[in-house]
Each structure stands twice: as C-alpha cells, then as structure tokens.
C-alpha cells in the first residue's frame, strides 16, 4: 500500500481530543491511556534483528487488517516518511518522539477519528494509545480495553503469570498501562504555586512533567500527570489514582488560583490576556514559543469570561496547527524558520478573526 500522502488533509482537521469539550475542559485538555504489549515469540526490540522487526511489522499488520472493526484504519510506514511528516505525527501526538527518531521498520496504525493509534516497534512491539478530550479516563479505558481484547485475540502476547504483561523496561511491566492527563495550569504558574503543588504529588506515585519543549520559558503552562507504577495495582486503581484523586485536586488548586487572580487584580489580568490576544491578532512574525505563551493566556481569558469572541476549540486547534510541521503541511511546502514565523502570524490572524470559520473542527 502507498504511504499516506494526504497529511495535508489530515492537517486541516483536528483530532477528537481537541474538541475542547468533556469534563473539566476549562483546565483539562485531554486524557490519554497507553498500553505496552509485546509478542511472545520475538525478542524485545533492543535484541531484534532486522528480519525480526520486519516480521513483527508484517505480522501485526496482517492481523490488524483482518480485524473487522479496523476497516478504515490508516496504516503508516514511518520508515518511509520525510522528516517533516514524522514531526507532524509527533506534534499531533499520534506517535512518540522515540519512534519518530528510531531506525528500521516501524509503523503506526491510526483510526480516522484519531482517537486511537497503535505504534509498532516502538520501545515495545506494540504501544496502543487512546485519547479523549477533557478528563475522561473511563471512556478512554473502555475503548483501549476493547481494542486490546481484539488484538489479544489475534496476537499472542508475552505474559507472565506473576509479572503480568512483559515489557522491555521493567518500569512498565504488569499492566503496561500509563494514563496521562494533560492540564492547562496558567494561574498556578502565574501565582508561583506550581512547584509546591507538584512537590506534594511526588509522594503519591504520580509523575508530572511539562508538556512542550523543555527549556523554553514560554511553554510552561501545560502539564501532564501520569501514574508512575504499573505493577501491583489494577488498571482501575491506577485510573482512579490519577483521574479521581490527583487530577481533581490539581483542578481545584488551579480554580482557586484563577479566582484569586480575578479577585486581586481583575483589571491587570484582563489587560494581560487582552494584550496577548492583541499580539496574536496583529503580529507580522511570531515564533512557536511565543504563540504558545500568548495562546495559553488567551485560553485562560476565554475560560474566565474576560475574552468573548474566541472559542476554546479554536485555541486548542491553534496550539497544534501553529507548530512547525503542521504549518508546513497546511501551507503545502517546506518552510524555513523565518518564513514559518510569517506564515504562523498570518495563519493565527485568519483563524482568530474567524474568516476561516470553525466548520472544520469536527
């Protein structure tokens, strides 16, 4: 089959998880679960020969093709993609940085709604992933559980009676499950409470990390909370830890911080978010870090009712669409970084002014 060549059309749409709806969607962007699985009859990736990798890929693909529910699946051979296309899939969170940068045969299967993807030959033979918008780990689990059952019917997994699903890294063994909730926490950042909140989290089996571009001073408002252990707790217990204990607490802190900002200083805050929107609306050139920074402020402003003529789904989409590979796909050609800054500014303005409409959001 041909490698997918219509990334341009994929680029124009947004995954379901960016709809900006779902529980707590003023603060929670998305919920994601991934399962690590390995085939029983192959070594783990690190010790795979070239033949092994090819065989795994071919094998898994043939079996997925035979699965009734997977008729519309897009199957993408990552090895054959250009650098920009790989980056595009990373920006879209359909594949990991690790598999993008790896060598040898590897692939990803994606459903048309972009709710789930299956990476083949990542660190484990299979990395199954499901995304939902808002805080909704339960729906995500129901989907991924069903998908895993189907795959399990066709593929013999490496499983140990005592240690559970066997994975290349012992940090994933057992359930092989990592559930992650992506949070938008600008007020905790502004009020400098974020460190304190996360220090208190370290004792309770979750990890927190900044989402985009470490080292970039402008992209600090997004955080991902995930379970740390995978062995000795059921899937439900892990989902409950993240989705019912930890995340709701953080949401509360963020809400309090937002209320505090409004109370103390509504005018300053209003000024700040309006200026952010102003810059996005008028800049002639803008970097992706700056865009992230100002979009984050605007998003909070919209959620607090300080800005009214922009929609959250639009902002969510712009976060993704203004990243380098997306911009190039949308523009239809490779762009250098200063060209990108110009195109980004113009793209932002077309969308924030509503000329493009939001018809392409679903």
């Amino acid at each position: 089959m041909n490698p997918i060549t219509d990334f341009e059309s994929l680029a124009k749409n947004s995954g379901e998880w960016l709809r900006g709806t779902g529980p707590e969607s003023d603060i929670v962007i998305s919920s994601r679960i991934r399962l690590a699985r390995n085939l029983a009859d192959f070594p783990f990736i690190r010790r795979c020969s070239q033949d092994d990798r090819d065989n795994i890929e071919r094998n898994v693909r043939a079996r997925m093709d035979a699965m009734a529910d997977w008729k519309d699946i897009r199957y993408i051979d990552i090895e054959e993609l250009s650098e920009v296309d790989r980056q595009f899939l990373v920006e879209r969170q359909l594949i990991s940085r690790e598999i993008a940068d790896a060598e040898g045969s590897r692939a990803v299967a994606i459903d048309p709604g972009e709710q789930y993807s299956v990476m083949i030959n990542e660190e484990d033979h299979l990395r199954i992933q499901v995304m939902q918008s808002g805080l909704d780990l339960k729906t995500a689990w129901a989907r991924i559980d069903a998908l895993d059952d189907q795959l399990e019917g066709a593929i013999l997994y490496a499983f140990h009676e005592k240690y559970g699903y066997l994975t290349a890294c012992p940090t994933n063994v057992g359930t092989g499950l990592r559930c992650s909730v992506m949070l938008h926490l600008p007020a905790l950042v502004i009020t400098r409470q974020i460190e304190k909140v996360f220090r208190s989290m370290q004792r309770i089996n979750v990890t927190v990390r900044g989402l985009y571009g470490e080292g970039s001073q402008y992209s600090g408002d997004f955080y991902q909370v995930s379970n740390q252990v995978t062995l000795g707790h059921s899937e439900q217990a892990l989902l409950a830890l993240v989705g019912e204990e930890v995340v709701p607490q953080i949401i509360q802190y963020e809400r309090k911080a937002r209320a505090f900002l409004v109370e103390q200083n509504e005018q300053d805050l209003h000024d700040d978010v309006s200026r952010a929107l102003g810059i996005l609306n008028t800049a002639k050139k803008i970097s992706s870090e700056e865009t992230m920074h100002y979009l984050s402020k605007v998003r909070m402003g919209v959620n607090l009712g300080l800005i009214s003529d922009v929609l959250v789904p639009t902002i969510n989409k712009l976060f993704i669409h203004t990243q380098p590979a997306h911009l190039q796909k949308l523009h239809g050609r490779v762009l250098g970084s200063s060209d990108r800054n110009v195109q980004r500014a113009s793209y932002l303005q077309r969308h924030l002014h509503g000329e493009m409409g939001d018809g392409d959001l679903n």
């Binding site: 390995n38 029983a40 009859d41 192959f42 070594p43 783990f44 990736i45 690190r46 010790r47 020969s49 033949d51 092994d52 065989n55 940085r97 690790e98 660190e123 559980d145 895993d148 059952d149 399990e152 019917g153 013999l156 997994y157 490496a158 499983f159 140990h160 009676e161 005592k162 240690y163 559970g164 699903y165 066997l166 290349a168 890294c169 012992p170 940090t171 063994v173 057992g174 359930t175 499950l177 989290m201 370290q202 990890t207 927190v208 990390r209 470490e214 740390q228 252990v229 995978t230 062995l231 000795g232 707790h233 059921s234 899937e235 439900q236 217990a237």
Partner: protein, 198 residues
C-alpha cells in the same frame, strides 16, 4: 574509563531513565555511584538506577554486581550489564532467567512484585515455550540465510503448531504446566466442554 567525578576507574555505568529527555548515561566509581544512586532513589521517576541503588545499600558488593553483570540470557544473549546500562531487557525470558536479580528491582520501582489486573483470555505461553519460540524463530532465519528452505518450513510448521496449542481460552489448564508435554497428544487437551467465551 574514568569516573565522571574523580580519577578512579568507572566501574558503574548507570543509565538514568528519566523520560522524556531520553536515557542519560553516567560513568562512575563505586563510591560516586553509591552517592549518585542514593540521590536518585528519592527522585519521583521510577528508574532502574534508583532500584539498583537500594540493592547496593542492602549490601550487594561491587564484586557481586560484577559477577551478575557477566550473566547472559541463553535466549536473546543480553548480559545483565547491558540491561543495567541501557535499562532495557532483551526478551520475555529475561524475567525468568534474571528473576532473582529483578525481584529487588521490581520491588523498588513498583513496591510490588505481583501483577494485579487484566490478563489475556487465552492461555499465556509459559516462559519456556516463549523462549522456545524465540529460539525457533532465530533458527528459521538462519535456515533461510543458508537457503535450507526445507528446514525453515519445518520450523515454521512447528511455530504454527505451538501457537495453535496456545490459542485456547485460559480457563482450560494451569499455564505453569503446559511446557514440555513433549509428546504430540496435546490434542487431548481440547476445549470442548461448555465454557466458551464470546
């Protein structure tokens, strides 16, 4: 190789598995390894390095670890040294072959050594039969390279047979015992009685 912090030879090569920036390799003498690993152990990121630290604290000596480093999995050939410097195991059988050495690690990382939760509905292959399948696959690739297609197709048939044998609902028999019933009357374990799932 010298220790990154002093002039002594580096005898510990530790890979920090801090996601998402990727593994970071440290080359350290025993003393610096101890202090580094002790620090790591308190970090929120579950890591092989941190887990190894506790093993050191519990009194495993450098010599013992060096001996352990030599150990190699008979199926995939990975050494314990390679595992602890990469943080990645080589095959499913490693969990059986290195079991005693992995238990303290699992305990330190997860505070548990026992899976609770979902299990495959079909019979899990025993460690031995998984190992056997990986080895057969290797042999098959070798046979193909040597253009011994007859041998290759024999192996393919055997692999297929093994997989069919395993392709049964998990309720049928205890998975610990399914290994080496090395006669071909495996078919009498057929699954005709009632309990069929979906």
């Amino acid at each position: 190789m010298k220790c990154q912090y002093c002039e002594k030879p580096a005898t510990f090569h530790i890979t920090e598995l801090t996601e998402p920036s990727g593994p970071k390799v440290m080359h350290l003498c025993e003393e610096h390894a101890r202090s580094f690993l002790q620090k790591e152990a308190s970090s929120p990121v579950a890591s092989v390095a941190g887990a190894l630290a506790k093993q050191l604290q519990l009194g495993q000596t450098k010599k013992e670890i060096e001996e352990l480093d030599q150990k190699e999995c008979p199926v995939c050939g990975i050494s314990f040294f390679e595992f602890r410097s990469s943080g990645r195991l080589g095959c499913p059988y490693d969990y059986t072959f290195f079991e005693n050495d992995l238990i303290p690690l699992l305990n330190n990382i997860h505070d548990s050594t026992e899976h609770v939760g979902k299990r495959p509905r079909r019979l899990a292959a025993s460690a031995d039969s998984q190992a056997r399948m990986i080895q057969l696959r290797r042999e098959m690739e070798e046979a193909v390279d040597l253009e011994d297609y007859e041998r290759a197709s024999e192996i393919r048939d055997e692999l297929k047979r093994m997989e069919e044998e395993l392709n049964k609902p998990a309720t049928q028999k205890p998975a610990t015992q399914d290994t080496d019933q090395d006669d071909e009357n495996a078919s009498n374990a057929d699954s005709s009685e009632g309990e069929e799932q979906s």
